[in-house]
């Protein structure tokens, strides 16, 4: 810098040498910073780039702000590598500016180089004169991507403490949900809603969390207020519909789903729930066609397959139901309900031996379920394994004495069966009113396997049907 330098023959008398010569003040580097920023935020990218180029020429490439803006513009245009080069130049000029590190981290994050991005943000944290929520937020995101949830949580909490931004809360909630800590997630949601009460996403998120926790009332409130702010929010509509469906107000639920399907016709969860609404209204054909649509969208969805099997059982198409049940068992061999359903289908197909096998498997997977036990007892009796049936009934009694709640239907059926077995042992003759018994059994089984509603619309991979249709 040579401005304001002292003259050699400095004369303290101002009057004498007033017009001698004026040393021009050199134009400061920052002269056009305001214009660069203005043009950038106005979206006049071309003019802005031109101005930056001129400025860099004027300052021999040593203009930090121009380089910074150039990096941002390049990133916005998708030239991530070049933008990083630009930020590196900035850092050579001024290694103490946290902003440069932050922008560089952002570019690296967009290039999916999370480790490098993390390092850049850590540097920014070191350089930054005061704690900055943005740095903490991005650190949290990087760590989450790198799979270090614990550290990510720390940073997210720091970010939340420093600011009341929606994105910080969302990040923290995401981390907590991935850890399975729903209680704290709900607490975070609540404080997040205090900070930004009109955020639809936050409202929906908290509503869905409440739904997962089984607190339907709060969930309903949250989702309703989300819908009041944005009536066409598909996720919230799905949640509200799900709650009303649970309360057996099927028409209300249907109206919600119909609205939602208008905005998102490709959602398998929506079609599935619509199908189950029709199922509960005993409109089985409509139910099957809706469920098939859901299956068309996501062919590997075991819940839809399960529901389809139920619907086919209800329409007395046991063979089709068996196919769907088989598919569910293949997809999810770890769910007891699938085997129970398979057993129901097999009973309907007059194959009690295999039904017993399926139920044994179900009982292995879920040992404490009285419904499976009573069903197994009935199946054993139908297959002729009378002693095993008696064992099952004794087991049931044990459970009932230990305080497991049995529904009226279960106890009725058990009593019925016990008296039948006794009669059988007494008279040693085959009772042949088994048909009636079987039908009753089926009905109950249908109740056990209640419609499964998915409460979060996660449309995973959609698959495409392609075929050569040439004749």
């Amino acid at each position: 810098m040579f401005a304001n330098g002292q003259h050699k023959n400095y004369n303290p008398d101002p009057t004498k040498n007033k017009e001698a010569e004026s040393i021009p003040e050199p134009a400061p580097f920052e002269k056009f910073n305001w214009l660069i920023h203005l043009q950038h935020v106005r979206g006049e990218t071309d003019a802005c780039k031109e101005l930056i180029r001129k400025e860099l020429d004027r300052c021999y490439g040593k203009h930090e702000y121009a380089l910074h803006k150039q990096g941002i513009i390049l990133r916005e245009e998708g030239n991530l590598q070049e933008s990083i080069a630009s930020f590196q130049k900035c850092l050579k000029l001024n290694a103490g500016n946290a902003e440069n590190f932050k922008e560089m981290g952002k570019s690296l994050y967009e290039m999916r180089r999370f480790r490098l991005s993390l390092e850049a943000y850590l540097e920014a944290e070191r350089v930054s004169p005061s704690p900055d929520w943005k740095i903490y937020y991005h650190l949290g995101e990087c760590l989450l991507q790198l799979g270090e949830t614990e550290r990510a949580k720390d940073y997210a909490q720091k970010a939340v403490k420093l600011s009341k931004h929606e994105m910080c809360f969302t990040l923290l909630v995401k981390i907590l949900v991935s850890e399975g800590d729903f209680h704290s997630a709900i607490a975070v949601c609540n404080s997040g809603m205090e900070a930004c009460p009109d955020s639809v996403n936050m409202l929906t998120e908290s509503g869905l969390l409440f739904l997962k926790m089984g607190q339907n009332q709060q969930a309903f409130e949250r989702l309703s207020s989300a819908l009041a702010l944005k009536p066409a929010h598909v996720k919230a509509l799905l949640g509200v519909g799900c709650i009303t469906q649970m309360h057996e107000e099927h028409d209300v639920a249907l109206s919600k789903y119909k609205l939602a399907i208008h905005y998102d016709p490709d959602s398998a969860a929506l079609w599935n729930n619509i199908g189950m609404c029709f199922y509960s209204k005993q409109k089985y054909i409509a139910a099957i066609s809706c469920l098939k649509r859901a299956l068309w969208v996501s062919p590997l969805n075991w819940k839809t397959l399960f529901n389809l099997a139920l619907a086919h059982l209800a329409t007395l198409q046991a063979a089709s139901a068996f196919n769907f049940a088989c598919a569910t068992v293949n997809l999810r061999p770890d769910v007891a309900d699938c085997f129970a359903l398979l057993a129901s289908c097999l009973m309907e197909l007059q194959d009690p031996e295999n039904a017993v096998k399926a139920l044994r498997r179900a009982m292995e997977l879920a040992p404490g379920d009285v419904v499976y036990i009573v069903n197994a007892a009935v199946c054993c009796e139908a297959a002729g394994f009378d002693h095993e049936a008696v064992q099952m009934l004794n087991k049931l009694k044990e459970f009932a004495e230990n305080g497991t709640t049995c529904t009226q239907e279960v106890t009725d059926l058990a009593d019925n069966l016990a008296s039948r077995l006794e009669q059988k042992f007494h008279s040693d003759q085959q009772a042949d009113n088994g048909v009636q018994e079987a039908s009753q059994r089926q009905k109950r089984e249908g109740d056990v396997a209640t419609p499964r509603d998915k409460d979060a619309a996660v449309v995973a991979e959609t698959e495409r049907e392609l075929e050569p249709d040439e004749v």
Binding site: R293, L300, N330, E461, T462, R464, P468, D469, V471
Partner: protein, 448 residues
């Protein structure tokens, strides 16, 4: 019996080879008999005559094709920018690699798939638009002649001869340029009043890729005389110029003149289908079926409409009708199998696909059948089998992007993570317009 009478009778009974032999023997004796000469010429033409109205291949995405009127057409006014279907995965049909909706029947231009070996071979094909078949026919005819060409075309004084010889030229010799010269002379000779010659002239122009001239000829034909062929040819010309709306107008005026004419209606139905308006297209096909209950194309298209409209039972009925009419092909059995699968008739599904596999010889078609079989396995929840089917499909057709995508999804489900990304990227590279691999790649990256 008089040999000439015999020849005529043979011609009527469509025994063209024998007729030609008889004519040759007569001509050896009396070489100046014009009637015999004419008959021989007609027989030779008839022997190899094809209805070339269907064989015209419109090159899709041809970089040398500069006939299209607008380079950046407004939506709805061009085949390339026709309105996309409204719903996503549910309502829409799969598309061909060039972005057109897949159609119910195989027609010239519906089956192109860039990147296949077939296409790479075709790069050396002439861009004149004259169908390859016409050329092949021409050479075949030349080969079959023992004593050199029957007529030395170049020596003839074209103005003297009438229309019969023109067909001979076009079909038999494959010599379009001379045929056109003859047609021009003939039109002049008739004081521009004979519509037939003008149609022939237009045909020659189309073969030489002079589309605008052909359009002029056909326009003036329609002023003079209404004929189904000229309507259809004009429609074809507009489709080549990528002006589907004008083509539609021509078709509609054609239908007014010839109400319920099957071929014009077919043209209309195809056009609306190409413009993504499936319901209207099916309406036309239905009227066609009422007029002509044996029209395979219409029945197959209606069947496919029902299939993608989630009514596989109805589709099954239509395809069974096609089967009853005597069609016996891989695609038909494949479609029957799919209909059975989606209408819960599993006992029929396996035999149908088995037949399809037995009949399939072309590896590309076999690949499609295996692809569909993978859906059968998915419906049964058998992931291992599905993966095997898809692998087979890929081994037969290395460019099957959907198969790669689905394979990736299945591997993802079975927890085989390291293969997923590779399959998805190859799917994306093979068909950059396919949405699914892109979405899946995005999902994979966010889940990482």
């Amino acid at each position: 019996m008089d040999p000439f009478y015999l020849a005529l009778s043979l011609f009527r009974r469509r025994k063209y080879d024998k007729c030609i032999d008889v004519c040759t023997s007569i001509l050896e004796k009396q070489s100046l008999d014009q009637a015999v000469w004419c008959l021989k010429m007609r027989a030779m033409t008839q022997r190899i005559y094809v209805d070339d109205i269907e064989s015209e291949e419109i090159p899709e995405n041809d970089f040398l094709e500069d006939n299209a009127v607008a380079t950046a057409p407004r939506p709805g006014t061009s085949m390339k920018t026709s309105q996309p279907p409204k719903t996503g995965a549910l309502g829409s049909r799969p598309r061909t690699a060039t972005g057109r909706p897949i159609s119910g029947v195989s027609r010239p231009g519906t089956q192109n798939r860039p990147g296949t070996a077939l296409d790479r071979l075709r790069t050396a094909r002439p861009v004149t638009g004259q169908s390859a078949r016409a050329i092949r026919l021409g050479t075949a005819a030349m080969l079959s002649q023992k004593e050199g060409p029957f007529i030395q075309v170049s020596r003839l004084n074209l103005a003297k001869y009438a229309k019969k010889s023109r067909t001979y030229l076009f079909y038999h010799e494959g010599d379009v340029r001379n045929a056109m010269e003859l047609a021009v002379q003939a039109t002049q000779y008739c004081d521009f009043k004979d519509w037939w010659w003008k149609v022939q002239l237009a045909k020659c122009y189309v073969a030489l890729n002079l589309i605008r001239e052909a359009e002029q000829q056909l326009r003036s034909v329609l002023k003079q005389h209404y004929h189904v062929e000229s309507f259809i040819r004009l429609t074809r010309i507009y489709i080549r110029l990528d002006q589907p709306l004008s083509a539609m107008e021509i078709c509609k005026s054609g239908v007014e003149v010839f109400p319920k004419d099957v071929s014009i209606m077919t043209e209309l139905a195809r056009l609306t289908e190409a413009l993504n308006d499936t319901s209207t297209s099916v309406k036309y096909y239905r009227t066609i079926v009422i007029e002509d209950a044996m029209n395979t194309e219409a029945i197959a298209c209606i069947g496919m409409y029902h299939f993608y409209n989630h009514q596989p039972e109805l589709a099954l009925r239509y395809y069974r009708r096609v089967l009853a009419m005597g069609a016996h092909s891989v695609e038909l059995y494949n479609n029957l199998g799919l209909c059975c699968l989606y209408s819960q008739q599993l006992d029929l599904t396996y035999p149908c696909f088995q037949r399809a596999l037995e009949l399939a010889t072309d590896p590309l078609v076999r690949a499609e059948v295996w692809y569909n079989l993978s859906h059968l396995a998915i419906a049964a929840g058998d992931m291992e089998l599905a993966i095997r089917c898809l692998t087979l499909s890929i081994s037969l057709d290395k460019t099957h992007a959907s198969a790669y995508n689905n394979l990736a999804v299945l591997h993802h489900k079975t927890g085989n993570a390291n293969l997923v990304k590779a399959y998805l990227t190859s799917a994306k590279e093979l068909e950059p317009d396919l949405v699914e691999p892109q979405i899946n790649l995005g999902l994979l990256q966010t889940a990482e």
